[in-house]
């Protein structure tokens, strides 16, 4: 069976650095951090991390009420990112119901705010009579995929990957598989997540968040840095239009890059500790899938969230495969960890890097930690012809994912 080629023809993003892709890129190029002190979080007893990277919810009323009523914050972000991606791809909204176009959007869970609302309404008096009817649709794990598909009239495969911080990249990987197997022609893929004290709190109770920089929020997270002390949650959504190559070619679509390999696998070792050996396996499997060698890789976009243990394991994994020959950077210093959105969001930025021939540096990486050395960290913008790149995501639950992309050529 001949596998079909899969290219990226559209990209859209709502991020802590702005509500479209140009704003995100401009923010990164200006080395701006979107991390700030979160007002009101000090009221939560025991919450150590008081910083986050919020996105702005705006223009939501452009979505008609009867579509919007089933959407929490994260679904609105996804609809807006999807509309941007479709516009970028030059696809008309009224032409999405062929059954050959799908939608896969991942997130750690449903809308955190909506889930919180449900508990606040129901639990104090064990009373369901005050529950709005549409809350359920905002809370389910497939809320973003479902809402985007309904809003756009998509009738193909609709799925929600839910694997915490690997959700977004798993969505892209799943879309890639569907298209290369010939089951779909186009898939809107991506991830989404909300910033909420309950979300940060879930990492905070495990001491995985940054808590030493509450008064200097822009200095954290610090991927690979000796002063790193944990992750900072962010929010937003990123959507890519994945398209079968011949179809994209036939309609003369602008092509941002080609996906050539993907792997996802679990550590099977520990629910929260990253595992270097399984990371290595995942990346190697993705390279094998792409039929490329480590020496062919021009850039690695790291998962690196700024946790003490996760960054160390990832640096060791990258070192084992690539030594210090391949530029590596993490984007978490700019936008925090957007969790389920991060894989797709950072992939989009990486494709922009590929297009522009530059590697964006890791923000807040001032002194490389002794346990993260031996790889080629990028701390200043680096001109680089990125022909092939790898995007990593390593999630709680021991879920790993790696995607390989190539600069587009007709070869």
């Amino acid at each position: 069976m001949t596998l079909k080629r899969v290219v990226v023809t559209g990209m859209g993003a709502i991020s802590p650095l702005g509500n479209d892709l140009p704003s995100l890129i401009q923010g990164i190029e200006n080395r701006r951090s979107a991390v700030c002190r979160m007002e009101g979080w000090e009221l939560y007893n025991g919450l150590r991390c008081l910083v986050g990277a919020p996105a702005e919810l705006k223009n939501e009323k452009a979505i008609p009420r009867q579509s919007r009523r089933s959407m929490g914050r994260m679904s609105i972000f996804s609809v807006q990112a999807a509309l941007q991606a479709l516009a970028d791809a030059g696809m008309e909204r009224d032409n999405l119901s062929s059954g050959r176009l799908g939608c896969i959007i991942g997130s750690t869970m449903g809308s955190a705010q909506s889930i919180n609302d449900v508990f606040e309404i129901m639990l104090p008096n064990r009373d369901l009579t005050r529950m709005p009817g549409l809350k359920f649709f905002q809370c389910v794990s497939h809320t973003a995929a479902m809402n985007v598909a309904q809003f756009l009239g998509i009738t193909g495969c609709v799925m929600a990957t839910s694997a915490a911080c690997a959700s977004g990249l798993q969505a892209v990987g799943a879309g890639y598989d569907l298209i290369r197997l010939g089951k779909q022609d186009v898939v809107l893929c991506g991830g989404t997540e909300e910033l909420h004290p309950t979300v940060t709190g879930s990492f905070d109770v495990l001491f995985a968040t940054s808590s030493s920089y509450n008064d200097e929020p822009r200095k954290t997270p610090r991927p690979f840095d000796e002063g790193r002390d944990g992750l900072v949650c962010g929010e937003g959504s990123a959507i890519l239009v994945l398209e079968e190559y011949e179809r994209a070619l036939g309609r003369k679509a602008k092509i941002h890059g080609e996906i050539i390999g993907y792997n996802t696998g679990a550590s099977g070792v520990h629910v929260s500790h990253s595992n270097k050996d399984r990371m290595v396996t995942c990346i190697r499997e993705a390279l094998d899938d792409a039929r490329v060698l480590p020496k062919d890789i021009d850039y690695v976009n790291a998962h690196a969230t700024g946790t003490v243990q996760g960054d160390k394991e990832e640096a060791e994994a990258i070192r084992e495969i690539f030594n210090d020959s391949v530029p590596v950077s993490s984007l978490k210093g700019y936008v925090g960890h957007t969790l389920g959105a991060s894989g797709a969001l950072e992939l989009i930025v990486s494709l922009v890097m590929m297009d522009k021939g530059v590697v964006y540096p890791t923000l807040n990486l001032d002194v490389v930690s002794s346990d993260c050395r031996g790889i080629r960290h990028v701390t200043e913008p680096l001109e680089r012809d990125i022909k092939i790149m790898v995007k990593n995501c390593f999630a709680f639950g021991g879920i790993n994912a790696a995607l390989v992309c190539r600069k587009f050529s007709h070869q």
């Binding site: 009323k61 009420r65 009867q66 009523r69 009579t129 005050r130 529950m131 709005p132 009817g133 549409l134």
Partner: protein, 93 residues
Amino acid sequence: MVEQHIIDLTNEVFEESFEIEIEKLQPEMNIFNDLGLDSLDIVDLVVALQNKFGVRIRSDERVRNIRTLGDIYQFISALKNEGLSSSDGRGQE
């Protein structure tokens, strides 16, 4: 005669929960055909009216007969005359 504050509070529900302009909120308006509500919205309408007027109407059979905004004014007005709590039991959960 329906009291003005019942009309005002009901209209607030339609403005706040269903984003309908105040100019459209006339008693003869059909809440489905004219104001655009559907069956899912009725769940939220009941919750919003309960919260706004402090009543419990989720199981009240009379909700099924509501067609116009004026029907809601009359229904709330009737509840008020019954003591707002459907003391005959029809409005109890």
